[in-house]
Every structure is written in C-alpha cells, then in structure tokens.
Amino acid sequence: MKNRKHKAKVFRPTAFSFPYLAVTVVFVIVPLILVLVYAFRGDDGSFTFGNFAKVFTQKENLIQLGRTLEIAALSTALCLLLAYPVAYILASKPFNKMAILALLFIIPMWINFMLRIFALQSVLTAIGIPKSFWAATIGMVYDFFPYMLLPIYTVMSKLDKSYIEASTDLGADSVQTFFKVTLPLSLPGVISGVSMVFMPIFSSYAITKMMGDAKTTVIGAKIASLFENQSYGNYGYGAALSFVLLVIVLLVMLLSNFLTNRTQKAPKGGVA
C-alpha cells in the first residue's frame, strides 16, 4: 500500500511528452509510412519497384530535378550574398542596440506568403520583368530572405567582441579580422540559414508556378500535378517522386548537420 501511495505522488516529467508523441505519430510517422506504401504499390495493389523505375527512367523528371536544384542553389546563394552583409551591419556597433532595424527585415515574414508573391508579381510586371526563371528566382530570394538573415544576425550579434579585439591586438587589420575571425565564427549561422532556405525552396512550387514561365517548372509542381490528376495510378508515381525528394533533402540536412558539428566550437545560434 505504502509503495503505491509513493508511486502515485511521483509525477514523471516524461509524461508531458506523450501528447507530442501522439501528434508526431499521427501527423508525421503515419503519413510517411503511407507515402512509402503508395510508392511501392502497383496499380493492382501488389508490391513493385515500378514507380521508382518510372521516376528514374523518365528523362523529364531528371531535367526537372536538375532545374529545381539549380533554382534552389541559386536562390540560396543570392539570399546568402544579400543577407550576410545586412546581418553584419545590423549586428555592428552603431546598430546593435536597435533591434527594431532587424525587426524591419523580419516583418515581411508576418504577412501571408501568397499575398507577398502576388504583390511582388504585380511590381515585377509593372517594371517590365516578365514571368521567367529570373522572376521566379527574385520571388524565391524575396520570400526566403528573412530566414537567411535571422540565424546569421543572431550569431553575429552574440559574437563576443573580445575575439575581434584579440584579433586586432595580434596584428590583424579589419579585413584580416573579418576573414580570420568574424567569418569562421559566424559559419554556424550561415549553415543554419542555408538549410532553412534551401530545403523549403527545393520542395516549393507555388512561387515558380506563379512567377516562372512554362520552362521554369520544378519537381514540386510535377508532384502536385500528379496528385491533382485523380487517376489512381498517379498516386504511386507521385509518392515515389516525393520520396526521392525527401531523400535528397535528408542528404542535404545530413551534410549541413555534419558541417555544423565541425564548426560547433563556435558560438551556437540560429534556428536549425
């Protein structure tokens, strides 16, 4: 009796995790299994590799995959090139006490994503940029810029000033200090920024659909069209294609985690 009483009193904190576990199972694990099941199911319901064979044998898929990688890599690179200097300036001495400035760059995140794309589309049309690969790229960069800025800014603003002082004390001028100290120490922010931008761009298709021309179709759009098309056979094909996409994203994530671990001695920050 005494024992049971005692047990009843002990409330294990792990109990808090059960609801989350349930949500994860229902909304993440089960759907993933379903994707896998569909991917390996033939039209007649039997087990087959046919869907995957279709993914890799159709030349159009590989071209679109390449196109997707291209636009994702390009947009990510442009985002980084734009966001890094901005983060550096915002975190530097005259501005670091004015968090409001950083906020100004973040506020667009609060506005509906589709609304922003519609607006940008109108602006581009107004200044004479037609729907094209480049218009889509501009859309991507515009949309995902805050996700690149935020992690880099966070790392930079937390960067201990004494490292910079130590560097100049040891004979490095400001350019040398940047390349030898600031840049390597801000890498964790860069890595999480890159993964936060690259991954969603890779699987998104709304922006390219709205802002790109006929040639600028990404793999996400293909998957969407497969599922929108109600014929049953497309489910398996689409599931296999999504699965391949998932594996690619997973590989990118593993790579980024690997890089983060290698530079983890530097102050951590960011969101990833």
């Binding site: 004494s162 002082e165 560097s167 004390d169 040891l170 530097a266």
Partner: protein
C-alpha cells in the same frame, strides 16, 4: 635583449589623459610614466578606470583628451594592430575555431619581419607636415613573413614557456581555465611585444591556481625582460608581483610606489584602507613629532604639518602591541571579539570609544582588559585629502543654488540670480537619507571609512559628483541614498573660471 641600449628609459608616457563615456568621466587628467622592463600593476576597486587606462594603451579606446606615448611616439592615432603591445584578456578570448597551436600562431602568421636578403625599396609617400600634405621619398626595408618552420619553432617555444608542450593540437575548449590562461599568455608573448598588457588575467582562476600563476608570471617577466602592465583589484596580487604599484580610484592616481612603500607609507586614507587592514582615525598635529588623537598625545616621526592641522592617522593592525592588564600602554581597552586567522588572532579592541583592529600572536578572549601601545614609527600621518566639498554652481533664485544637478536651499545674500558661484559644503553639512525621495538628489555610496568616532562616507551622484559626508552612521557600499545639505553651513564664493584655472595651475 638586456645588452641592447635602450633609446628611451620611459617606455610609456601618459600625459594628462582624460576619458569619458557619454559625459561620464572614467579617467581624469591622468599622467604616468612607466620605465622599460618594469612590472607595473594598476590597482583599484572596480570602476576606478584601471581597465579603461589599459584599453587606451592597447588601442581599444581613444582618450577624450591627452596623449599616450610609447617610446616617445604618440600612439593615439595608431590602430591597435600596429602598436607594439599585446594583451592578455580577462576572459582569455581564445579563438574557439582554432586549436591551441593555431591560436598562438595567429599573430605570427600576420607579422612581417625585415628581410635583409632583399634590397630596400624606395617609396613615395604622402606625409603631413605642419598641416600641409607633402610627397616624400622614404626607404622602406624589405619585409617577409615568417616561414612555417619559424612559426612552428616559436609556437613550440612559447608553449614550453607556459608549460603546455604537448597541447598544440588540443581544442581550446577542452582545456581547463588555468590552461586556457596559459595559452592566452603564450599567444600574446609569442609576438614579442615591447609591452605586455594583462587585464585581470587571473580573476577566473581558483585561489591555489592563482597563487601558482602569480609566481609563474613573475618568473616569465624576469625571463622575457619586457614591460608588463597588469590590471587587478586584488591588492595582495599587486603587492606580490609588481615592481611598481599604481593605486587608482575614481579615475585618479592615488599613489605610485613600490609595493613595500605602498603598504608602509600609504599616501592617503584611501590607499591605506584599500591596501590591507588599517585603523584610520582623525588626529590633530600638535607640533612636529607630536600627534593627538582619541584624546591622547603620542610621539610620532612625522613633521612639516601646520600647527593644529587636521590629519588622517593610520595604524596597521599588526603594529599595535597588545598586552594584558590596564595602564601598560597608551590606550586602555576591552577586547570585543577575537577571530583566529591561521597564523595570528585578529581582535577588535574598544578603547577611548574607538574600535581598534589588532593582530597578535597572543589570544585574548572577549571581555579581557588590555593595554594597547603604538610605537612612534608605526603611526602614519597623512594630509587630509579634502576637508570640504567644492562645486561650481549657479544661483538660480532667492536662497536657491543649483550644483551637482540638484537645487539646494542656501542663503544667497550678496549674490544675484544667474551668478556662477563656487560652493563649499563642509563634510558635516551633508546629510544622507535612507530614502532617495527625502533628499534633494539621489546618490550611491561609493566608499566608507571609519575615522575613529565617525564614518567618512563618499557618495556619488548620477552625474558622478562626489560628496564626502561625516556621519555617525555606517552606510553600506552601493546603497542608494538621498542627499540633503544644511544651507547655513554652506559657503558661497564668486566664481571666476580664469582665476580658478590659474589657482589650479599653482597647485
């Protein structure tokens, strides 16, 4: 190194340097020269400006006024990376993305050394002469970078000097605090600076480690022969290691002297209080070699004061001889408390209404009747730093004077509204209030000295004006208080800025 003739005996000259942050003066008109090869310690409580002074020498801060010279060259316009100094930072600031070896090699990889194998180049440079830009031909020695082997050799020697021979490949975060400290020292000295700056480098270490490092730093200083400037708030550390101690408070140098002299002959009550334990009393100089305090006349070894001049009297606890029974010394007293301190007993003895701190090998239990005697050469007499608070103010109304950012009620007969005045406020005219609201202005208690029968408390207002107060009550450091002033005791004088400056020059 040692046989090289030094072109300047004074390696650093600090001339009338003032530094203020947002109008708050941190270092005030400070001048100091430091001789080559010395171990100099800047000592003072936190906020006294010692770190700011060090940072100005390193180049991280620029003086608001004044100039700093290294070997005769003004350096305030020279960026930190071109100064012949290196710094050991308080929290080490080791680069986390580099291992121990690369941290130490950081400065060496950037350094350029003269290359006698290449011919000197003639370069045309634009220089400013008397405000006019002139083109000039200059011969520039050819320079080169260190080779990989040279760098490896120097780094390994530095590692050996700090006793970390096999740690080159280690990650800096895997090291203990003491080891990180050694790496930070190695990283600074490997660049062969003329001056090594150390900003409270041992603050984060435990006591035992700190003692070891103190001796090691001293040894390193002797081996390297370069000038060390060391910042600390630990008086024992300062006395242990330094050739010269610079005691600072409130941005001003209180005393510059050898450690022994600082301890034996403190310049003023602040230094005496800050360095070791002291009994600080107020006395009156009867004549040369005779001092009176606590109602007794005692022989002393000081002279040259004015007759009946009020002075500070300082007696070290270990200089007081305590004997059993009454009537055997200059003061009769009763032991109030006794604490065993390892090698001696520290006792509080109440005599003539003053609580003496006495250290002795002999133990006397509380309640014992004892006699205290003080030898003439154990009585240190020093001029009172200030006998009155002085401010520049303005008459802002009838019987209203504004000074130190407060409006005080002071009789203003003979003055008109708008007059600039010098305001003299005696220490006993100031009253501190527990509640900030009760005072005219708020302030923080920054110092409290027990002067025998009363406390001399220093408070600082938010505008950084100091008020000295004589009060029977003890006030805790950093307490927030209000300041009131008894207007009838305040003296006003016409203020003439020019005349005042001349006076200051004479002083």
């Amino acid at each position: 190194m040692a046989n090289e003739k030094a072109p300047f005996d004074k390696i650093i000259e600090i001339n009338n340097v003032t530094k203020s942050f947002d109008g708050k003066v941190v270092v005030k008109d400070l001048s100091l020269s430091i001789r080559r090869g010395q171990f100099v310690t800047l000592l003072g409580p936190s906020g006294c400006g010692k770190t700011t002074l060090l940072r100005m020498i390193a180049g991280f801060e620029t003086p608001t006024e004044g100039e700093i010279y290294i070997e005769g060259t003004p350096i305030t316009s020279i960026p930190p990376y071109r100064r012949p100094v290196n710094t050991v930072f308080q929290k080490y600031a080791l680069f986390p993305h580099l291992n121990v070896f690369k941290n130490i090699a950081f400065g060496l990889k950037l350094k350029r050394v003269p290359d006698p194998t290449k011919p000197a180049k003639v370069k045309t440079v634009t220089v400013k002469r008397d405000g006019v830009k002139v083109k000039e031909q200059q011969t520039v020695e050819a320079t080169r970078k260190y080779t990989k082997e040279e760098i490896a050799d120097k780094v390994n020697r530095a590692l050996k000097l700090v006793g970390l021979e096999d740690y080159g490949h280690r990650d800096v975060n895997s090291l203990s605090g003491g080891q990180q400290q050694r790496v930070a020292i190695a990283r600074a000295i490997v660049c062969e600076p003329k001056i090594l700056l150390l900003d409270e480098p041992l603050g984060a270490l435990d006591l035992k480690m700190r003692k070891e490092m103190q001796l090691e730093l001293k040894k390193m200083h002797d081996e390297l022969g370069i000038t060390f400037i060391y910042v600390t708030h630990d008086q024992e550390e300062a006395l242990t290691m330094s050739d010269v101690v610079v005691v600072m408070s409130n941005g001003v140098i209180q005393q510059v002297a050898q450690p022994k002299k600082i301890y034996d002959e403190p310049q003023n009550a602040f230094v005496a209080d800050f360095i070791g334990e002291s009994n600080i009393l107020t006395g009156v100089m009867e004549k040369d070699y005779l001092i009176s305090f606590l109602g007794k006349k005692l022989a002393c070894v000081d002279k040259g004061f004015e007759k009946n001049e009020k002075v500070d009297v300082i007696v070290r606890p270990e200089d007081i001889v305590i004997t059993k029974g009454l009537g055997q010394g200059q003061f009769d007293g009763e032991v109030v408390s006794t604490v065993f301190k390892g090698t001696y007993y520290e006792m509080e003895v109440l005599a003539s209404d003053y609580e003496f701190t006495v250290q002795s090998q002999l133990e006397f239990v509380p309640g014992s009747a004892v006699s205290l005697s003080i030898a003439p050469d154990s009585i240190h007499i020093m001029k009172k730093m200030l006998t009155v608070n002085k401010y520049v103010g303005e008459v802002t109304g009838e019987n209203l004077v504004t000074f130190a950012n407060g409006d005080f009620e002071v009789p203003t007969q003979g003055f008109e509204t708008g007059d600039e005045v010098l305001v003299y406020v005696p220490f006993n005219a100031v009253e501190l209030t527990d509640d900030e609201e009760d005072g005219v202005i708020g302030a923080n208690v920054s110092q409290s000295l027990y002067k025998g029968t009363y406390y001399q408390v220093e408070v600082r207002t938010d505008g950084y004006d100091a008020f000295f107060v004589d009060t029977p009550d003890e006030w805790d450091m950093n307490d927030r208080v209000g300041i009131k002033v008894d207007g009838s005791k305040v003296k006003l004088e016409k203020y003439d800025p020019q005349e005042d400056e001349e006076k200051a020059d004479e002083e």
